[in-house]
């Protein structure tokens, strides 16, 4: 799969709910269509990130396995389901 990661969020060593909250922060900082990679070593992250992407309309492109427990979650920012008031 070819893509360019716009923002890498390193949440290795931070425990639940740390990584998901770091991802939320990262997603807020990029534009629709851009890509965030979240690095996490928390075993709970996979299920949580998948569920969150489904609910929030962001696309989980790939889960990479790095050394040890570290996983990389590659996420493409989706179109917001509802427009914000000020937009």
């Amino acid at each position: 799969m070819s893509y360019t990661v716009t923002k890498k969020v390193d949440a290795v060593g931070s425990f639940c709910p740390g990584p998901l909250m770091e991802l939320v922060r990262g997603i807020k900082e990029v534009e629709v269509g851009e890509i965030v990679e979240l690095l996490s070593s928390d075993k709970g992250s996979a299920a949580e990130v998948q569920k969150w992407c489904e609910k929030s309309g962001n696309e989980l492109l790939e889960i990479k396995q790095y050394d040890g427990d570290t996983q990389g979650f590659v996420i493409k920012k989706g179109e917001r389901k509802r427009r914000r008031r000020r937009e």
Partner: protein, 383 residues
């Protein structure tokens, strides 16, 4: 060390700073070396923050949860009533807003968390919360006069102080309106940024069913994105929008800005702290405790209480040349109020998640007893 006197400077006289000052005072006496303990705080108003959950319902008075912090410190403490502006870490000097320079041999950072609503573009000062004495008082008027409609409690951003407090607020609102006989006219909704109401799974397994039973609607994966205070609509990053009549919004938190400006902390202001030795990373003779650290545990008074003796011990050991540092194991104990008259008790550390029992009257009474006990014994470092 100037004139052989050991200068220990503590920034902040809240829960962590006060307990550590009292514990250190005893330990430093044991070194038999001359020492000077200095505490710097802009007001020395010591706030017992768990009391906000009572003042917001007018079940306690603000003056009984805010005490003169100077009276809780050792008498021999040099107390400087000023805001810290900067720490010159190379020269080991603290600079206050008026320009006073306070040199240190050991520095303890205990400046807590700052409520930083300006961090988000959607904050509006008309929003209600109960994370400061004034805000809890303002909310108490609103709650007292609330007759019908929908109340939402939402989290501005993670991390925030005392993770149970927003859910406790929702549970106590339920009981308050039940006792007033108008619960059927008041809808209560709790918005969680996570896929469950409470972050710690074992506690959530007890708490979320209680919320369901009491008819408190839990909206999960709700990360606040915007608020329209005129139309009274709350928007999430996940694409939900919720109407409300009263919105209680926990404000975003940061560390104190001078920590970033002094090069001690990153932009968020949370101090990078070794979770075992409580030493500040990449700094010499510097420790941190309480809400200001970046340690992945609850920002709670209880955390600061269990961290304080570790810092006192480690500074003492450093002075006497003992290199075997004492380690913090992540111990935290918390009450979790479920109604006026019942509470859970949770106890955990880095290795062992909490195993909460059931809410009981016993822990409720213990919680009520804890406030006078806090001012008489806990803050003074007696326990």
């Amino acid at each position: 060390m100037s004139n052989n006197t050991v200068n220990v400077v503590i920034l902040g006289a809240g829960t962590g700073g006060t307990i550590v000052a009292n514990k250190l005072n005893k330990k430093l006496k044991k070194t038999k070396k001359p020492f000077q303990l200095t505490v710097i705080d802009p007001s020395f108003k010591h706030v017992y923050q768990p009391g906000f959950l009572f003042t917001m319902f007018k079940k306690d008075k603000t003056h009984s949860i805010v005490k003169d912090g100077k009276k809780l410190l050792p008498k021999n403490t040099n107390m400087i009533e000023e805001k810290v502006k900067k720490v010159e870490t190379k020269d080991k000097v603290v600079i206050t807003e008026s320009g006073t320079k306070v040199p240190y041999d050991y520095l303890v950072i205990a400046t807590g968390a700052k409520l930083s609503p300006e961090k988000v573009d959607w904050w509006d000062d008309s929003l209600y919360h109960y994370y400061s004495p004034e805000a809890a008082d303002r909310l108490s008027e609103k709650i007292e006069n609330f007759r019908e409609g929908k109340i939402i409690i939402a989290i501005g951003e993670i991390p925030y102080k005392c993770p149970p407090a927003p859910i406790e607020g929702a549970l106590l609102l339920d009981d308050y309106f039940k006792k007033k006989g108008i619960r059927d006219k008041v809808e209560i909704q709790y918005c969680s940024p996570l896929d469950r109401a409470f972050s710690i799974k074992t506690v959530n397994e007890v708490i979320e069913p209680i919320m369901n039973e009491k008819g408190i609607e839990v909206e999960t994966f709700f990360n606040v994105d915007d608020v329209d205070t005129e139309e009274k609509v709350l928007y999430s990053l996940e694409g939900s929008d919720l109407d409300y009549d009263l919105l209680i919004m926990i404000p975003p938190h940061t560390g104190q800005p001078f920590l970033h400006e002094s090069g001690i902390a990153g932009k968020s202001g949370w101090v990078p702290t070794d979770r075992e030795t409580l030493r500040v990373q990449d700094q010499e003779n510097m420790y941190a405790l309480g809400d200001t650290t970046d340690i992945p545990t609850s920002k709670a008074g209880s955390t600061a209480h269990y961290e304080a003796p570790i810092i006192a011990e480690n500074i003492y050991k450093d002075i006497i040349g003992d290199t075997n540092l004492t380690k913090y194991d992540g111990h935290v104990q918390c009450f979790f109020l479920t109604e006026f008259g019942k509470s859970l008790f949770i106890d955990f550390n880095f290795e062992h998640p909490p195993k909460p029992g059931k809410p009981s009257r016993f822990w409720w009474w213990f919680k009520l007893f804890f406030k006078p006990f806090y001012f008489r014994a806990v803050a003074k470092g007696l326990v």
